[in-house]
Protein backbone atom coordinates (compact mmCIF):
# COMPACT_ATOMS: atom_id res chain seq x y z
CA UNK A 1 0.00 0.00 0.00
CA UNK A 2 1.15 3.50 -0.72
CA UNK A 3 2.43 5.48 2.23
CA UNK A 4 -0.29 7.69 3.74
CA UNK A 5 -0.07 11.40 2.96
CA UNK A 6 -0.04 12.52 6.60
CA UNK A 7 0.92 11.09 9.94
CA UNK A 8 -2.12 10.87 12.28
CA UNK A 9 -0.76 13.95 14.06
CA UNK A 10 -0.50 15.91 10.78
CA UNK A 11 -3.94 14.75 9.71
CA UNK A 12 -5.38 16.16 12.91
CA UNK A 13 -3.64 19.51 12.41
CA UNK A 14 -4.83 19.62 8.80
CA UNK A 15 -8.44 18.88 9.76
CA UNK A 16 -8.57 21.33 12.67
CA UNK A 17 -6.88 24.19 10.85
CA UNK A 18 -8.86 23.73 7.67
CA UNK A 19 -12.10 23.76 9.66
CA UNK A 20 -11.00 27.04 11.27
CA UNK A 21 -10.07 28.58 7.91
CA UNK A 22 -13.47 27.68 6.48
CA UNK A 23 -15.20 29.80 9.13
CA UNK A 24 -13.70 32.88 7.42
CA UNK A 25 -15.79 32.36 4.29
CA UNK A 26 -19.50 32.23 3.47
CA UNK A 27 -20.69 28.59 3.78
CA UNK A 28 -21.44 28.35 0.05
CA UNK A 29 -17.96 29.66 -0.85
CA UNK A 30 -15.73 26.92 0.51
CA UNK A 31 -13.50 26.92 -2.56
CA UNK A 32 -12.38 30.47 -1.64
CA UNK A 33 -10.19 28.82 0.99
CA UNK A 34 -7.94 27.36 -1.74
CA UNK A 35 -4.86 29.52 -1.06
CA UNK A 36 -4.82 29.05 2.72
CA UNK A 37 -5.58 25.34 2.30
CA UNK A 38 -2.68 24.79 -0.11
CA UNK A 39 -0.44 26.83 2.21
CA UNK A 40 -1.49 24.55 5.08
CA UNK A 41 -0.69 21.47 3.02
CA UNK A 42 2.73 22.81 2.16
CA UNK A 43 3.49 23.79 5.75
CA UNK A 44 2.88 20.18 6.77
CA UNK A 45 4.59 18.40 3.87
CA UNK A 46 7.26 20.90 2.78
CA UNK A 47 5.75 20.85 -0.70
CA UNK A 48 2.49 20.11 -2.53
CA UNK A 49 2.38 16.43 -3.44
CA UNK A 50 -0.36 15.41 -5.91
CA UNK A 51 -2.27 13.36 -3.30
CA UNK A 52 -2.25 16.44 -1.07
CA UNK A 53 -3.75 18.64 -3.78
CA UNK A 54 -6.38 15.97 -4.41
CA UNK A 55 -7.28 16.00 -0.74
CA UNK A 56 -7.53 19.81 -0.68
CA UNK A 57 -9.76 19.71 -3.75
CA UNK A 58 -12.05 17.09 -2.19
CA UNK A 59 -12.39 19.07 1.00
CA UNK A 60 -13.22 22.26 -0.85
CA UNK A 61 -15.63 20.58 -3.23
CA UNK A 62 -13.76 21.28 -6.46
CA UNK A 63 -11.91 19.17 -9.01
CA UNK A 64 -8.28 18.34 -8.45
CA UNK A 65 -7.47 20.25 -11.62
CA UNK A 66 -8.68 23.42 -9.90
CA UNK A 67 -6.31 22.80 -7.01
CA UNK A 68 -3.47 22.09 -9.42
CA UNK A 69 -4.23 25.22 -11.41
CA UNK A 70 -3.87 27.36 -8.29
CA UNK A 71 -0.82 25.54 -6.95
CA UNK A 72 0.99 25.94 -10.27
CA UNK A 73 0.11 29.65 -10.67
CA UNK A 74 1.76 30.94 -7.50
CA UNK A 75 5.55 30.76 -7.14
CA UNK A 76 5.56 30.07 -3.41
CA UNK A 77 3.94 26.68 -3.82
CA UNK A 78 6.38 23.90 -4.61
CA UNK A 79 5.12 21.25 -6.98
CA UNK A 80 8.43 19.45 -6.67
CA UNK A 81 10.15 18.71 -3.43
CA UNK A 82 12.72 21.50 -2.97
CA UNK A 83 16.04 21.40 -1.13
CA UNK A 84 16.04 21.68 2.64
CA UNK A 85 16.65 25.40 2.30
CA UNK A 86 15.03 27.43 -0.44
CA UNK A 87 17.21 30.49 -0.99
CA UNK A 88 15.47 33.26 -2.94
CA UNK A 89 17.76 36.13 -3.91
CA UNK A 90 16.12 39.32 -5.12
CA UNK A 91 17.84 40.58 -8.26
CA UNK A 92 15.26 43.18 -9.19
CA UNK A 93 16.43 46.70 -10.02
CA UNK A 94 16.90 48.32 -6.58
CA UNK A 95 18.79 45.29 -5.30
CA UNK A 96 20.91 44.99 -8.45
CA UNK A 97 21.86 48.66 -8.17
CA UNK A 98 23.39 47.69 -4.83
CA UNK A 99 25.10 44.50 -5.92
CA UNK A 100 22.50 41.72 -5.94
CA UNK A 101 23.86 40.18 -9.12
CA UNK A 102 27.30 39.69 -7.63
CA UNK A 103 25.71 38.47 -4.40
CA UNK A 104 23.95 35.78 -6.42
CA UNK A 105 27.24 34.83 -8.10
CA UNK A 106 28.90 34.56 -4.71
CA UNK A 107 26.14 32.26 -3.46
CA UNK A 108 26.34 30.03 -6.53
CA UNK A 109 30.01 29.45 -5.73
CA UNK A 110 29.51 29.19 -2.00
CA UNK A 111 26.60 26.74 -2.12
CA UNK A 112 27.80 24.86 -5.20
CA UNK A 113 24.47 25.18 -6.99
CA UNK A 114 23.38 27.31 -9.94
CA UNK A 115 20.45 29.70 -9.71
CA UNK A 116 17.35 27.80 -10.74
CA UNK A 117 18.73 24.46 -9.58
CA UNK A 118 18.43 22.29 -6.50
CA UNK A 119 20.46 19.88 -4.42
CA UNK A 120 19.23 17.89 -1.43
CA UNK A 121 20.33 20.80 0.77
CA UNK A 122 19.78 23.90 -1.34
CA UNK A 123 17.34 25.32 -3.83
CA UNK A 124 18.77 28.58 -5.17
CA UNK A 125 16.49 30.92 -7.09
CA UNK A 126 16.49 34.45 -8.39
CA UNK A 127 13.37 36.16 -7.22
CA UNK A 128 11.47 39.38 -7.80
CA UNK A 129 11.28 42.41 -5.51
CA UNK A 130 10.77 41.35 -1.89
CA UNK A 131 9.84 44.82 -0.61
CA UNK A 132 13.26 45.25 1.00
CA UNK A 133 14.63 47.63 -1.62
CA UNK A 134 15.66 50.18 1.01
CA UNK A 135 17.73 47.54 2.80
CA UNK A 136 19.19 45.95 -0.33
CA UNK A 137 20.52 43.52 -1.23
CA UNK A 138 18.29 40.96 0.41
CA UNK A 139 17.33 37.34 0.29
CA UNK A 140 14.90 34.93 1.80
CA UNK A 141 15.62 31.49 3.19
CA UNK A 142 12.45 29.44 3.36
CA UNK A 143 10.22 32.11 4.88
CA UNK A 144 12.84 34.14 6.71
CA UNK A 145 14.05 37.46 5.47
CA UNK A 146 17.64 38.77 5.50
CA UNK A 147 18.53 42.32 4.54
CA UNK A 148 21.50 44.68 4.12
CA UNK A 149 23.70 41.89 2.75
CA UNK A 150 26.34 44.32 1.56
CA UNK A 151 29.41 42.16 2.16
CA UNK A 152 30.61 38.58 2.05
CA UNK A 153 31.01 38.60 5.83
CA UNK A 154 27.33 39.41 6.31
CA UNK A 155 26.27 36.68 3.90
CA UNK A 156 28.61 34.19 5.52
CA UNK A 157 27.15 35.02 8.94
CA UNK A 158 23.64 34.23 7.69
CA UNK A 159 24.66 30.89 6.24
CA UNK A 160 26.94 29.87 9.10
CA UNK A 161 23.87 28.94 11.15
CA UNK A 162 22.38 26.63 8.53
CA UNK A 163 23.36 23.02 8.56
Amino acid sequence: MAEPLFTPEQQKTFDTELAEILTHYPPDRKSAAMLPAVRLLQSLKGWCPPEGLTLVAERLGVTKERAYEVASFYVMYHLKKPGKYVVDVCTNLSCSLRGAESLLGYLEDKLGVHAGESTEQWTLRETECLASCGTAPCLQINEDHFENLTSREKVDAVFAKLK
Binding site: H24, P26, R29, S31, A32, A33, M34, L35, P36, V38, R39, L60, E69, V70, F73, Y74, V75, M76, Y77, T91, N92, L93, S94, S96, L97, R98, G99, A100, E101, S102, L103, G105, Y106, E128, C129, L130, A131, S132, C133, G134, T135, A136, P137, Q140, E143, D144, H145, T150, S151, R152
Partner: protein, 447 residues
Protein backbone atom coordinates in the same frame (compact mmCIF):
# COMPACT_ATOMS: atom_id res chain seq x y z
CA UNK B 1 16.35 75.33 -8.94
CA UNK B 2 14.35 74.85 -5.77
CA UNK B 3 15.71 74.93 -2.22
CA UNK B 4 17.61 71.76 -1.26
CA UNK B 5 15.54 71.31 1.91
CA UNK B 6 12.17 69.60 1.64
CA UNK B 7 9.14 71.46 3.04
CA UNK B 8 8.50 70.54 6.67
CA UNK B 9 5.45 68.43 7.38
CA UNK B 10 3.86 66.82 10.41
CA UNK B 11 4.13 63.05 10.33
CA UNK B 12 0.76 61.39 10.62
CA UNK B 13 1.40 57.84 9.36
CA UNK B 14 4.94 57.10 10.49
CA UNK B 15 5.14 59.08 13.71
CA UNK B 16 5.24 56.06 16.00
CA UNK B 17 7.67 53.98 13.94
CA UNK B 18 10.72 52.86 15.85
CA UNK B 19 9.31 53.73 19.29
CA UNK B 20 9.14 50.85 21.81
CA UNK B 21 6.16 48.50 21.33
CA UNK B 22 4.65 50.84 18.75
CA UNK B 23 2.71 47.90 17.30
CA UNK B 24 0.69 47.11 20.44
CA UNK B 25 -2.83 48.26 21.17
CA UNK B 26 -1.77 49.67 24.56
CA UNK B 27 0.78 52.00 22.95
CA UNK B 28 -1.59 52.83 20.13
CA UNK B 29 -4.21 53.91 22.67
CA UNK B 30 -1.65 56.15 24.42
CA UNK B 31 -1.25 58.00 21.13
CA UNK B 32 -4.99 58.58 20.95
CA UNK B 33 -5.67 55.35 19.07
CA UNK B 34 -9.31 54.43 18.32
CA UNK B 35 -10.47 57.93 19.37
CA UNK B 36 -11.03 58.67 15.69
CA UNK B 37 -13.24 55.58 15.44
CA UNK B 38 -15.24 56.77 18.45
CA UNK B 39 -15.85 60.09 16.71
CA UNK B 40 -16.78 58.40 13.44
CA UNK B 41 -19.25 56.08 15.16
CA UNK B 42 -21.06 59.14 16.50
CA UNK B 43 -21.53 60.36 12.94
CA UNK B 44 -23.96 59.01 10.35
CA UNK B 45 -22.21 56.74 7.82
CA UNK B 46 -22.97 59.19 5.01
CA UNK B 47 -21.36 62.01 7.00
CA UNK B 48 -18.23 59.87 7.47
CA UNK B 49 -18.07 59.37 3.73
CA UNK B 50 -18.46 63.10 3.07
CA UNK B 51 -15.63 63.82 5.50
CA UNK B 52 -13.31 61.46 3.60
CA UNK B 53 -14.28 63.17 0.34
CA UNK B 54 -13.51 66.56 1.85
CA UNK B 55 -10.08 65.38 3.01
CA UNK B 56 -8.95 64.94 -0.62
CA UNK B 57 -7.39 61.61 0.28
CA UNK B 58 -6.28 59.75 -2.83
CA UNK B 59 -5.46 56.06 -3.08
CA UNK B 60 -1.86 55.17 -2.30
CA UNK B 61 -1.89 51.83 -4.14
CA UNK B 62 -0.87 53.19 -7.51
CA UNK B 63 -3.69 54.87 -9.37
CA UNK B 64 -4.27 57.78 -6.97
CA UNK B 65 -8.04 57.48 -7.24
CA UNK B 66 -9.99 59.76 -4.81
CA UNK B 67 -10.91 57.51 -1.88
CA UNK B 68 -14.18 59.22 -0.90
CA UNK B 69 -15.39 59.01 -4.48
CA UNK B 70 -14.54 55.31 -4.68
CA UNK B 71 -16.49 54.68 -1.50
CA UNK B 72 -19.48 56.57 -2.89
CA UNK B 73 -19.72 54.16 -5.85
CA UNK B 74 -20.90 51.38 -3.55
CA UNK B 75 -24.66 51.03 -4.15
CA UNK B 76 -26.57 51.87 -0.98
CA UNK B 77 -29.68 49.85 -1.77
CA UNK B 78 -28.00 46.56 -2.69
CA UNK B 79 -29.49 43.58 -0.84
CA UNK B 80 -26.12 41.80 -1.07
CA UNK B 81 -23.46 41.90 1.62
CA UNK B 82 -20.67 44.40 0.99
CA UNK B 83 -17.00 43.70 1.43
CA UNK B 84 -13.80 45.60 2.10
CA UNK B 85 -10.66 44.07 0.61
CA UNK B 86 -7.38 45.56 1.78
CA UNK B 87 -4.57 45.46 -0.74
CA UNK B 88 -1.36 44.53 1.08
CA UNK B 89 0.17 42.74 -1.88
CA UNK B 90 2.98 45.32 -2.09
CA UNK B 91 4.95 43.84 -4.98
CA UNK B 92 5.62 46.80 -7.26
CA UNK B 93 9.43 46.87 -7.58
CA UNK B 94 10.83 49.71 -5.47
CA UNK B 95 7.91 49.73 -3.01
CA UNK B 96 8.26 48.81 0.67
CA UNK B 97 6.06 51.12 2.73
CA UNK B 98 2.93 49.09 3.55
CA UNK B 99 5.16 46.54 5.14
CA UNK B 100 6.42 49.11 7.68
CA UNK B 101 2.88 50.25 8.51
CA UNK B 102 1.97 46.65 9.28
CA UNK B 103 5.13 45.94 11.23
CA UNK B 104 5.31 49.19 13.19
CA UNK B 105 1.75 50.46 13.55
CA UNK B 106 -0.80 47.87 12.41
CA UNK B 107 -3.60 49.37 14.53
CA UNK B 108 -3.48 52.57 12.50
CA UNK B 109 -4.63 50.59 9.47
CA UNK B 110 -7.08 48.50 11.51
CA UNK B 111 -8.71 51.65 12.84
CA UNK B 112 -8.98 52.86 9.24
CA UNK B 113 -10.66 49.56 8.36
CA UNK B 114 -13.18 49.98 11.19
CA UNK B 115 -14.05 53.52 10.09
CA UNK B 116 -14.40 52.44 6.46
CA UNK B 117 -16.61 49.51 7.49
CA UNK B 118 -18.92 51.86 9.41
CA UNK B 119 -19.12 54.28 6.49
CA UNK B 120 -19.80 51.52 3.96
CA UNK B 121 -21.95 49.15 6.01
CA UNK B 122 -19.35 46.42 5.60
CA UNK B 123 -19.33 43.51 8.04
CA UNK B 124 -16.55 41.40 6.55
CA UNK B 125 -13.08 42.59 5.62
CA UNK B 126 -10.28 40.55 4.09
CA UNK B 127 -6.72 41.83 4.35
CA UNK B 128 -4.72 40.32 1.50
CA UNK B 129 -1.01 40.30 2.31
CA UNK B 130 1.68 39.22 -0.07
CA UNK B 131 2.71 35.69 0.76
CA UNK B 132 6.33 36.49 1.50
CA UNK B 133 5.49 38.83 4.40
CA UNK B 134 6.03 36.65 7.42
CA UNK B 135 6.86 39.20 10.11
CA UNK B 136 4.22 41.66 8.92
CA UNK B 137 1.64 38.84 8.94
CA UNK B 138 2.56 37.93 12.53
CA UNK B 139 2.34 41.53 13.70
CA UNK B 140 -0.94 42.09 11.89
CA UNK B 141 -2.55 38.89 13.17
CA UNK B 142 -1.54 39.77 16.73
CA UNK B 143 -3.08 43.22 16.32
CA UNK B 144 -6.30 41.76 14.86
CA UNK B 145 -6.52 39.39 17.82
CA UNK B 146 -6.08 42.32 20.22
CA UNK B 147 -8.84 44.25 18.46
CA UNK B 148 -11.21 41.29 18.83
CA UNK B 149 -10.33 40.93 22.52
CA UNK B 150 -10.88 44.62 23.18
CA UNK B 151 -14.32 44.76 21.58
CA UNK B 152 -13.33 46.65 18.45
CA UNK B 153 -13.92 43.79 16.01
CA UNK B 154 -16.42 41.00 16.45
CA UNK B 155 -20.10 41.27 17.35
CA UNK B 156 -19.90 44.83 18.65
CA UNK B 157 -17.73 47.79 17.76
CA UNK B 158 -16.80 49.82 20.85
CA UNK B 159 -20.13 48.88 22.41
CA UNK B 160 -22.18 49.72 19.34
CA UNK B 161 -24.30 47.03 17.68
CA UNK B 162 -22.16 46.80 14.59
CA UNK B 163 -20.48 43.54 13.67
CA UNK B 164 -17.16 43.50 11.84
CA UNK B 165 -15.00 40.48 11.12
CA UNK B 166 -11.50 40.95 9.77
CA UNK B 167 -9.61 38.05 8.23
CA UNK B 168 -5.99 37.95 7.17
CA UNK B 169 -5.35 36.11 3.90
CA UNK B 170 -1.83 35.44 2.70
CA UNK B 171 -1.01 35.41 -0.99
CA UNK B 172 1.47 33.00 -2.50
CA UNK B 173 3.83 34.97 -4.72
CA UNK B 174 2.21 36.66 -7.73
CA UNK B 175 2.67 40.36 -8.54
CA UNK B 176 -0.53 40.34 -10.57
CA UNK B 177 -2.58 39.74 -7.42
CA UNK B 178 -1.92 43.37 -6.46
CA UNK B 179 -4.16 44.39 -9.36
CA UNK B 180 -7.52 44.80 -7.67
CA UNK B 181 -9.60 42.37 -9.71
CA UNK B 182 -6.86 39.71 -9.71
CA UNK B 183 -6.76 40.19 -5.95
CA UNK B 184 -10.48 39.44 -5.80
CA UNK B 185 -10.01 36.31 -7.92
CA UNK B 186 -7.24 35.21 -5.59
CA UNK B 187 -9.46 35.89 -2.55
CA UNK B 188 -12.04 33.65 -4.21
CA UNK B 189 -9.44 30.89 -4.26
CA UNK B 190 -8.44 31.11 -7.91
CA UNK B 191 -5.40 31.95 -9.97
CA UNK B 192 -4.92 35.71 -10.28
CA UNK B 193 -6.47 36.52 -13.63
CA UNK B 194 -7.73 40.11 -13.78
CA UNK B 195 -11.35 40.77 -14.67
CA UNK B 196 -12.61 43.03 -17.39
CA UNK B 197 -13.92 46.36 -16.04
CA UNK B 198 -16.67 47.56 -15.91
CA UNK B 199 -18.33 46.38 -13.80
CA UNK B 200 -16.02 47.88 -11.20
CA UNK B 201 -15.47 46.07 -7.90
CA UNK B 202 -17.49 48.70 -6.02
CA UNK B 203 -20.52 47.30 -7.84
CA UNK B 204 -19.56 43.68 -8.62
CA UNK B 205 -16.58 42.57 -6.57
CA UNK B 206 -15.88 39.71 -4.20
CA UNK B 207 -18.36 36.82 -4.57
CA UNK B 208 -20.31 39.04 -6.97
CA UNK B 209 -20.99 41.58 -4.20
CA UNK B 210 -20.10 45.30 -3.92
CA UNK B 211 -16.48 45.53 -2.74
CA UNK B 212 -14.13 48.37 -1.97
CA UNK B 213 -10.46 47.62 -2.60
CA UNK B 214 -8.09 49.97 -0.80
CA UNK B 215 -4.37 49.99 -0.24
CA UNK B 216 -2.87 49.59 3.28
CA UNK B 217 -1.51 53.15 3.38
CA UNK B 218 -4.81 54.59 2.13
CA UNK B 219 -6.64 53.04 5.08
CA UNK B 220 -3.89 54.04 7.52
CA UNK B 221 -4.48 57.62 6.37
CA UNK B 222 -8.14 57.54 7.43
CA UNK B 223 -7.90 57.82 11.26
CA UNK B 224 -5.93 61.12 11.19
CA UNK B 225 -8.77 62.64 9.11
CA UNK B 226 -11.18 62.02 11.98
CA UNK B 227 -8.72 62.86 14.73
CA UNK B 228 -7.94 66.31 13.41
CA UNK B 229 -10.59 67.03 10.81
CA UNK B 230 -10.82 66.77 7.04
CA UNK B 231 -9.85 70.40 6.47
CA UNK B 232 -6.68 70.03 8.48
CA UNK B 233 -5.83 66.83 6.60
CA UNK B 234 -6.52 68.37 3.20
CA UNK B 235 -4.24 71.31 4.03
CA UNK B 236 -1.31 69.01 4.74
CA UNK B 237 -1.32 68.25 1.03
CA UNK B 238 -1.59 70.10 -2.24
CA UNK B 239 -4.69 71.46 -3.93
CA UNK B 240 -5.92 68.15 -5.31
CA UNK B 241 -4.18 65.63 -3.03
CA UNK B 242 -4.78 65.74 0.70
CA UNK B 243 -2.40 64.62 3.42
CA UNK B 244 1.16 63.38 3.53
CA UNK B 245 2.50 60.34 1.77
CA UNK B 246 5.08 57.67 2.27
CA UNK B 247 7.89 57.53 -0.23
CA UNK B 248 10.18 54.52 -0.60
CA UNK B 249 13.65 55.63 -1.65
CA UNK B 250 16.08 53.03 -3.02
CA UNK B 251 18.97 52.50 -5.42
CA UNK B 252 22.07 54.71 -5.59
CA UNK B 253 21.56 57.20 -2.79
CA UNK B 254 23.15 57.70 0.61
CA UNK B 255 20.11 57.14 2.79
CA UNK B 256 17.60 54.74 1.26
CA UNK B 257 14.44 54.16 3.29
CA UNK B 258 10.80 55.10 3.80
CA UNK B 259 10.08 58.79 4.37
CA UNK B 260 6.82 60.53 5.12
CA UNK B 261 6.84 63.74 3.10
CA UNK B 262 4.76 66.66 2.03
CA UNK B 263 3.52 66.19 -1.50
CA UNK B 264 5.08 69.54 -2.35
CA UNK B 265 8.51 67.90 -1.96
CA UNK B 266 10.39 67.63 -5.25
CA UNK B 267 12.36 64.63 -6.39
CA UNK B 268 15.53 66.68 -6.12
CA UNK B 269 14.77 67.62 -2.51
CA UNK B 270 13.97 64.01 -1.69
CA UNK B 271 17.39 62.94 -2.94
CA UNK B 272 19.41 65.90 -1.58
CA UNK B 273 17.82 66.78 1.78
CA UNK B 274 20.19 65.60 4.54
CA UNK B 275 17.23 64.29 6.54
CA UNK B 276 15.88 62.36 3.56
CA UNK B 277 18.06 60.84 0.84
CA UNK B 278 21.20 62.61 2.05
CA UNK B 279 22.57 63.08 -1.45
CA UNK B 280 24.48 60.84 -3.80
CA UNK B 281 27.42 58.63 -2.86
CA UNK B 282 30.80 60.37 -3.25
CA UNK B 283 31.82 60.86 -6.86
CA UNK B 284 28.47 59.88 -8.33
CA UNK B 285 25.78 61.88 -10.03
CA UNK B 286 22.12 61.16 -10.66
CA UNK B 287 21.51 59.78 -14.12
CA UNK B 288 17.88 58.71 -13.95
CA UNK B 289 15.06 58.37 -11.44
CA UNK B 290 11.96 56.20 -11.51
CA UNK B 291 9.40 58.17 -9.47
CA UNK B 292 6.61 55.73 -8.63
CA UNK B 293 7.59 52.07 -8.74
CA UNK B 294 9.18 50.37 -11.75
CA UNK B 295 6.00 50.78 -13.82
CA UNK B 296 6.31 54.57 -13.80
CA UNK B 297 8.10 56.19 -16.77
CA UNK B 298 11.68 57.12 -15.90
CA UNK B 299 12.87 60.74 -15.60
CA UNK B 300 16.32 62.05 -16.52
CA UNK B 301 18.65 64.04 -14.23
CA UNK B 302 17.39 67.37 -15.58
CA UNK B 303 13.76 66.61 -14.71
CA UNK B 304 13.99 66.37 -10.93
CA UNK B 305 12.37 69.66 -9.97
CA UNK B 306 8.96 68.07 -9.96
CA UNK B 307 6.77 67.58 -6.90
CA UNK B 308 6.07 64.00 -5.80
CA UNK B 309 2.36 64.49 -6.27
CA UNK B 310 -0.17 62.86 -8.59
CA UNK B 311 -0.99 65.84 -10.81
CA UNK B 312 2.54 67.26 -11.06
CA UNK B 313 3.96 63.92 -12.16
CA UNK B 314 1.14 63.44 -14.65
CA UNK B 315 2.23 66.67 -16.37
CA UNK B 316 5.63 65.01 -16.90
CA UNK B 317 3.88 61.99 -18.50
CA UNK B 318 4.85 59.80 -15.57
CA UNK B 319 3.12 58.87 -12.32
CA UNK B 320 3.27 59.01 -8.54
CA UNK B 321 2.26 55.34 -8.54
CA UNK B 322 3.14 53.41 -5.42
CA UNK B 323 5.72 55.90 -4.11
CA UNK B 324 8.73 53.78 -5.04
CA UNK B 325 11.56 56.14 -6.04
CA UNK B 326 14.54 54.34 -7.58
CA UNK B 327 17.71 56.34 -8.19
CA UNK B 328 20.26 55.33 -10.82
CA UNK B 329 23.70 56.94 -10.89
CA UNK B 330 26.03 57.81 -13.76
CA UNK B 331 27.73 54.41 -13.62
CA UNK B 332 24.48 52.57 -14.28
CA UNK B 333 23.79 50.99 -17.65
CA UNK B 334 20.29 51.92 -18.79
CA UNK B 335 20.01 48.92 -21.11
CA UNK B 336 20.89 46.50 -18.34
CA UNK B 337 18.44 48.23 -15.98
CA UNK B 338 15.61 48.17 -18.50
CA UNK B 339 16.34 44.55 -19.37
CA UNK B 340 15.91 43.61 -15.70
CA UNK B 341 12.70 45.61 -15.41
CA UNK B 342 11.34 44.05 -18.62
CA UNK B 343 12.19 40.58 -17.34
CA UNK B 344 10.11 41.23 -14.24
CA UNK B 345 6.99 41.97 -16.25
CA UNK B 346 7.55 38.97 -18.52
CA UNK B 347 7.89 36.80 -15.43
CA UNK B 348 4.76 38.23 -13.83
CA UNK B 349 2.43 38.46 -16.84
CA UNK B 350 -0.51 36.22 -15.99
CA UNK B 351 -0.81 34.99 -19.57
CA UNK B 352 -4.40 36.02 -20.15
CA UNK B 353 -4.00 38.68 -22.88
CA UNK B 354 -1.96 38.04 -26.01
CA UNK B 355 -0.16 41.42 -26.32
CA UNK B 356 1.20 41.13 -22.79
CA UNK B 357 1.86 37.37 -22.74
CA UNK B 358 3.74 37.45 -26.06
CA UNK B 359 5.04 41.01 -25.95
CA UNK B 360 6.72 41.01 -22.54
CA UNK B 361 9.12 38.11 -23.26
CA UNK B 362 9.77 39.58 -26.71
CA UNK B 363 10.83 42.91 -25.16
CA UNK B 364 13.05 40.99 -22.77
CA UNK B 365 14.75 38.99 -25.53
CA UNK B 366 15.45 42.12 -27.59
CA UNK B 367 16.91 43.94 -24.58
CA UNK B 368 19.09 41.01 -23.68
CA UNK B 369 20.36 40.86 -27.25
CA UNK B 370 21.24 44.56 -27.20
CA UNK B 371 22.87 44.40 -23.76
CA UNK B 372 24.96 41.38 -24.79
CA UNK B 373 26.30 43.20 -27.85
CA UNK B 374 24.32 41.22 -30.41
CA UNK B 375 21.84 43.97 -31.24
CA UNK B 376 21.10 45.06 -34.83
CA UNK B 377 20.16 48.63 -35.71
CA UNK B 378 16.55 47.57 -36.43
CA UNK B 379 16.13 45.96 -32.98
CA UNK B 380 15.51 49.29 -31.31
CA UNK B 381 12.58 50.07 -33.62
CA UNK B 382 11.28 46.55 -33.14
CA UNK B 383 11.48 47.03 -29.37
CA UNK B 384 9.41 50.19 -29.59
CA UNK B 385 6.94 48.45 -31.91
CA UNK B 386 6.42 45.63 -29.46
CA UNK B 387 5.98 48.09 -26.57
CA UNK B 388 3.49 50.09 -28.64
CA UNK B 389 1.47 46.99 -29.41
CA UNK B 390 1.10 46.38 -25.66
CA UNK B 391 0.50 50.05 -24.80
CA UNK B 392 1.15 53.13 -26.95
CA UNK B 393 2.67 56.11 -25.10
CA UNK B 394 2.22 58.99 -24.37
CA UNK B 395 -0.14 59.47 -22.63
CA UNK B 396 -0.37 56.79 -19.97
CA UNK B 397 -3.41 54.54 -20.12
CA UNK B 398 -3.69 53.45 -23.76
CA UNK B 399 -2.95 49.78 -23.02
CA UNK B 400 -4.48 47.02 -25.14
CA UNK B 401 -4.83 44.53 -22.29
CA UNK B 402 -7.47 43.71 -19.66
CA UNK B 403 -5.40 45.14 -16.80
CA UNK B 404 -2.68 47.74 -16.49
CA UNK B 405 0.17 45.25 -16.18
CA UNK B 406 0.54 45.64 -19.93
CA UNK B 407 0.93 49.41 -19.57
CA UNK B 408 3.34 48.85 -16.70
CA UNK B 409 5.52 46.67 -18.91
CA UNK B 410 5.51 49.00 -21.91
CA UNK B 411 5.98 52.37 -20.16
CA UNK B 412 9.52 51.68 -18.95
CA UNK B 413 10.56 50.67 -22.49
CA UNK B 414 9.08 53.78 -24.09
CA UNK B 415 10.54 56.13 -21.49
CA UNK B 416 14.03 54.62 -21.18
CA UNK B 417 14.50 54.64 -24.95
CA UNK B 418 13.09 58.17 -25.31
CA UNK B 419 15.53 59.59 -22.75
CA UNK B 420 18.62 57.43 -23.22
CA UNK B 421 18.45 56.47 -26.88
CA UNK B 422 22.14 57.24 -27.46
CA UNK B 423 23.09 54.64 -24.88
CA UNK B 424 21.01 51.95 -26.59
CA UNK B 425 22.56 52.90 -29.93
CA UNK B 426 26.05 52.77 -28.44
CA UNK B 427 25.47 49.15 -27.37
CA UNK B 428 24.40 48.25 -30.90
CA UNK B 429 27.14 50.24 -32.58
CA UNK B 430 30.00 49.07 -30.33
CA UNK B 431 28.62 45.51 -30.18
CA UNK B 432 29.12 45.42 -26.41
CA UNK B 433 27.93 47.02 -23.21
CA UNK B 434 30.01 50.18 -22.76
CA UNK B 435 29.92 49.58 -19.00
CA UNK B 436 31.75 46.28 -19.41
CA UNK B 437 31.21 43.73 -16.66
CA UNK B 438 30.13 46.37 -14.14
CA UNK B 439 26.84 47.62 -15.54
CA UNK B 440 25.54 48.55 -12.09
CA UNK B 441 26.30 48.31 -8.38
CA UNK B 442 28.75 45.68 -7.23
CA UNK B 443 28.59 43.55 -4.14
CA UNK B 444 30.89 45.16 -1.60
CA UNK B 445 30.65 48.72 -3.00
CA UNK B 446 28.05 49.53 -0.35
CA UNK B 447 29.50 47.76 2.68
Amino acid sequence: MTSPAAPAVEKVISRAWGTPHSHTLAEYRKRGGYEALKKALEMAPQAVLEEVKKSNLRGRGGAGFPTGMKWSFVPKDSPKPKYLAVNGDESEPGTFKDRYILEEDPHLMLEGIAIAAWALDVHTCYVYLRGEFKFAAQRLQAAIDEAYREGIFGKKMLGKDFELNVWLVRGAGAYICGEETALLESLEGKKGWPRLKPPFPAVVGLFGCPTVVNNVETLASVPPIFQRGADWYAKLGTEKSGGTRLICLSGSVNRPGVYEISMATTLRQLIEDPDLGGGMPAGRKVKAVIPGGSSAPVLAADELDVALEFEALKVKQTMAGSGGVIVMDDRTCMVRSLWRVARFYAEESCGQCTPCREGTPWQTRLLRKIEEGRGEPEDLEMLLNVATSIAPYPPIGLGTTICALGDAAALPVHSFVARFRAEFEAHIHEKRCPFGDRPWGHFGDWA
